[in-house]
């Protein structure tokens, strides 16, 4: 058996993971960077995005492309609005105190998850992808008749998976433009640098916080809508992505958006590649331990410049 085709396949799977992870982790990183809030409920916003995508697709019906595009708009907006409500009703009232915020978002995690269990149920449900052609990966080998191309059996990817990678890249660029080239991005960065000074200059910090929390949650939901045609919507699906995005945000350096994206690619790829060689459980154990040790011995992340 040739190893290389499996590596290529592992890389593509890894890039899909990385794309989704990057979107979700950028949301988490944004919330941590601007608000200094560790949002443990981030995984549930992701899950809610997937579940809402199913609801939207189920209600609209018709061609999968139409319902999918509708879900792509509706689910993140709904999840973002919910996050804004949670921010004003809970986080603002406890004044974003770090420990109490963590406890409150753990509470929020269970509320969202369990309400989903009560309404959506415990089944995993698929959303049909808007398009889904199979692409086989060709491979070359030397035979008696010279160099020939063949298709290793069963190995392939789909156009949808490639589209997810492309779409995520576009979205990440859009976020970068939003943060660096627009007025609202400037306001967010000002609030991140110094909340009090920003307020003194007439920035409505409360509104910025609500917006950032909503935007972060919306990004998680968007990531989920993208992944739900590949991986079914289930009420417990937020758990693993939450841990992974924590990992990504930490490795990338807390609050640094560029670092977050690099780390997402790194983690996504290595996750795809490690699982080629090891059983998924062992792969997870190894990945978890590596990250934990990075956090212990390089607390500012691999790309961070100084200790937080």
């Amino acid at each position: 058996m040739e190893l290389a085709p499996y590596l290529i396949l592992g890389s593509i799977e890894g890039l899909v993971t990385a794309a989704v992870l990057a979107l979700m982790a950028v949301g988490l990183s944004l919330v941590f960077g601007v608000m200094r809030v560790v949002n443990v409920a981030h995984g549930e916003f992701f899950m809610l995005g997937a579940v809402l995508a199913w609801f939207v697709a189920d209600m609209i019906g018709g061609h999968p492309a139409i319902s999918f595009v509708a879900a792509l708009f509706i689910a993140p907006v709904l999840v973002g609005s919910l996050a804004v409500v949670a921010d004003t009703m809970i986080l603002k009232r406890i004044k974003y105190d770090p420990e109490r915020t963590i406890v409150a978002t753990i509470g929020l995690l269970y509320i969202i998850q369990q309400v989903t269990l009560m309404t959506y149920g415990s089944n995993a449900r698929p959303v049909e992808p808007p398009f889904n052609q199979r692409i086989s990966i060709p491979w070359f080998e030397w035979t008696e008749s010279g160099l020939s191309m063949y298709w290793p059996w069963g190995l392939g990817t789909t156009t949808y998976k490639l589209a997810v990678i492309g779409f995520a890249v576009i979205l990440l660029l859009a976020i970068w433009v939003l943060m660096t080239r627009t007025r609202i991005g400037l306001i967010m960065r000002a609030t991140q640098l110094d909340r009090d000074v920003a307020q003194a200059y007439g920035i409505n910090v409360d509104r910025v916080y609500a917006l950032v929390f909503g935007l972060g949650a919306g990004l998680a939901a968007l990531a989920a809508v993208l992944i739900v045609p590949i991986q079914q919507a289930h009420y417990l699906m937020g758990h693993d992505p939450l841990l992974l995005s924590f990992i990504v945000v930490i490795i990338g350096g807390l609050g640094s958006l560029a670092g977050t994206v690099v780390a997402a690619v790194l983690i996504g790829l290595s996750d795809g590649l490690i699982s080629v060689f090891f059983t998924p459980t062992l792969a997870k154990i190894i990945a978890t331990l590596i990250v934990t040790f990075v956090l212990i011995f390089r607390p500012s992340g691999l790309l961070g410049k100084h200790n937080p």
Partner: protein, 320 residues
């Protein structure tokens, strides 16, 4: 502060808690079988919460990975009993040793970080521990878990699967943990712990070895959690990976917050309340964790001191 009667706060607090232990002893003759069994379970889980409280409530370190210590005790007890045929006595010692070793090792590593990183590192270690239990499913039986047979659960001549013995064994363990906590809080060591919680920088400036005290706090906290895990395996005859999952790291946080962090009695009250809340709600919905979530949010909003904390603030300031 010396009162008119000459009784110190520490002494008053001690009598109060001894009174509680006495009340719990008497309760076993009154309670119907169902609640009798529940209370035994609550007392064991309260030991877990008290262990958590040493680190979170008194030292101010929020760990999200205590399930790892609970599971260390549970499997430290269960695995040798089932696979090596050990009797409960050496198995209990092995559970404690495993608890000390795991908490010392994890504490040593995790304490290189602080704040948010400490929470995430402990969460990650616990996740790695949980996955390790699943990975060695051949021996641990993974999520399904394994049962420790009734005949093997006989310690010092007492059959611990029998309700009365089980209740009293739980009560003994509970009393030991409660009195140890009170003893600790009033000792020099405990006061340094509290000083670290209040102001780490200042404690360091005063010349105390902050790192050593934190490390010892992790070890004491983790070992008490392991002891609770071992007792759970022995008294209820079951060990499973669920007890190592994130949910079981969140539970002690919830119990301690609900009861009152940094109060000796808080963990028990919190566990008692939450146990019956979940017990009640699970009778009409499978989404019983919704109650836990609502409780966490409402607590942070309206009752940050917890039940016992509020009680102490308003009624009995001498409670430890």
């Amino acid at each position: 502060m010396i009162e008119k009667t000459g009784m110190t706060d520490a002494r008053k607090s001690l009598y109060f808690h001894l009174g509680l232990i006495g009340a719990l002893f008497i309760l076993q003759f009154i309670l119907p079988a169902y609640h009798h069994g529940n209370l035994a379970r609550i007392m064991v889980l309260a030991c877990y919460a008290m262990g958590y409280n040493i680190l979170f409530g008194y030292t101010g370190l929020l760990s999200l990975g205590h399930a790892m210590f609970f599971a260390a005790g549970m499997y430290g007890m269960g695995l040798p009993m089932v696979h090596l045929g050990w009797t409960p006595e050496p198995a209990l010692i092995s559970a404690i040793v495993v608890g000390v070793v795991v908490s010392a090792g994890i504490g040593f590593l995790a304490l290189r970080t602080s704040g948010v990183s400490f929470m995430i590192v402990t969460l990650m270690f616990a996740q790695a521990g949980f996955l390790t239990i699943l990975y060695f499913g051949e021996w641990t039986r993974g999520d399904e878990g394994f049962v420790i047979k009734q005949a093997e659960r006989v310690m010092a001549g007492f059959d611990l699967s029998q309700p009365t013995n089980r209740y009293n064994a739980a009560l003994i363990l509970f009393s030991i943990c409660l009195l140890l906590t009170i003893r600790l809080v009033h000792s020099r060591f405990g006061r340094v712990m509290i000083a670290i919680r209040e102001n780490e920088e200042r404690t360091h400036m005063l010349g105390y070895d902050v790192h050593f005290h934190k490390w010892m706090a992790v070890i004491m906290s983790g070992t008490m959690a392991a002891l609770a895990g071992a007792a759970y395996a022995l008294l209820f005859g079951y060990a499973g990976a669920t007890f190592a999952s994130v949910q079981y790291s969140i539970f002690p946080l919830l119990w301690v917050l609900l009861g009152g962090a940094g109060t000796a009695l808080g963990p028990f009250i919190g566990t008692l309340f939450m146990f019956y809340l979940i017990d009640l709600s699970s009778s009409f919905t499978t989404a019983y964790m919704l109650i836990a979530g609502l409780a966490l949010v409402l607590l942070t909003l309206f009752l940050p001191q917890g039940l016992v904390g509020e009680f102490r603030r308003k009624v009995v300031p001498w409670l430890s």
